[in-house]
Point group: C2
Chain length 183, copies 2
DNA sequence: CCAGAGTGAGACATCAGTGTCTCATCTGGG
DNA sequence: CCCAGATGAGACACTGATGTCTCACTCTGG
């Protein structure tokens, strides 16, 4: 029976999300195929990681689309974005750490696109008077990534419930830790 | 001349902070000693990483002490903490990712101590009515780690200035992205 | 001055992960 | 039914990192 490359990719993503140093052997086993077949579809670990990178980018963009960043208040858009991106957070964290190894090589241009779209959202919130302007959109974007990683870690390690993921991140990112006098 | 193990450790920390996959050979070269001597002082990569872990814990605790978490408002304490912990942020990020590989093994109890001290700070802020209570101290602590990692990444990649490190993190962690009507 | 400790350089074996190949087996379409 | 293509299992060699050992050199203290 012909192997479904997409299924293999998702199995690899699920495994590497938990154990980033997993062997090609383990990846193959996780996907339910032999190492030989895995190598026929992805000729080498780097090829596999690149494919996972493309998958992560595609899913991120899908989440960005689903979140409709241009509609409604920027706060609501951020809320939708975090909710939509939650399933990808683990894979994102893996790729994030893996990309540090590609130091010399150029990184996939897709990330820049995603960064730009998220930055644009924060900028929209600033221009609309919704967000404070003393924190740059670039930093807010990077901070969102960090909080997503922390949230994914909380859930993964069992210290936090998946249902709280969106609330925890959005509330901290938007409102901060300080208690609000108003409302 | 006798090698100073602490100097070796700091050189290793500086290198591994930038390139987490550095070889023992590269570590030795970075420390200005031979691989043989490096192995005489740290018999294996895992021993070296454990030693770095101890160093990171010690420096974290020193930062916690220097920040005087019990004095003044919790907000000011957080501000001092971030400022004091900044030099360790890179090493912290390295150990953070490295600890994921120690899955089965027990993690150093020192981290729990540090977590507890930071959590206690956030709890103090909550009990004093300074911080909101719908975000758990455990999450605030984890979020702080994530923001420290993001900040270190911003500085490391040149996207942000070191002088903004403390301000970026503290302002986002405490105040959030939303614009404040008051003040 | 001399002995001993510490170091640098290099050789060597080992080990894990990987890339590659072969061959038997299985499946599906003509 | 039969064949072509795909898969699984395993063997084999290669590579990079590592652990270990030896030997020569250089300090320093007695």
């Amino acid at each position: 029976m012909a192997v479904d490359p997409d299924h293999v990719l998702r199995a690899a993503a699920a495994l590497l999300t938990r154990k980033s140093t997993a062997t090609m052997d383990e990846v193959a086993k996780a996907a339910g195929i032999s190492r030989a077949t895995l190598h026929r579809h992805f000729a080498g670990r780097d090829v596999l990681v690149r494919a996972l990178e493309s998958l992560g980018i595609a899913e991120c963009e899908a989440a960005l689309d689903a979140a409709r960043l241009d509609e409604g208040t920027a706060s609501d858009a951020v809320r939708r974005l975090v909710g939509a991106i939650e399933p990808v957070a683990g894979l994102l964290a893996f790729l994030y750490s893996e990309n540090q190894l590609f130091e010399g090589e150029e990184l996939n241009a897709g990330w820049t696109l995603i960064d730009d779209r998220i930055s644009a959202l924060f900028r929209r919130g600033q221009l609309g008077g919704e967000f404070r302007i003393d924190l740059t959109p670039a930093w807010l974007t990077e901070a969102l990534y960090g909080l997503l990683a922390s949230g994914a870690w909380m859930v993964h390690s069992g210290k936090g419930a998946p249902k709280d993921f969106q609330h925890m991140i959005v509330e901290l990112l938007l409102g901060g830790a300080l208690r609000r006098e108003e409302s």
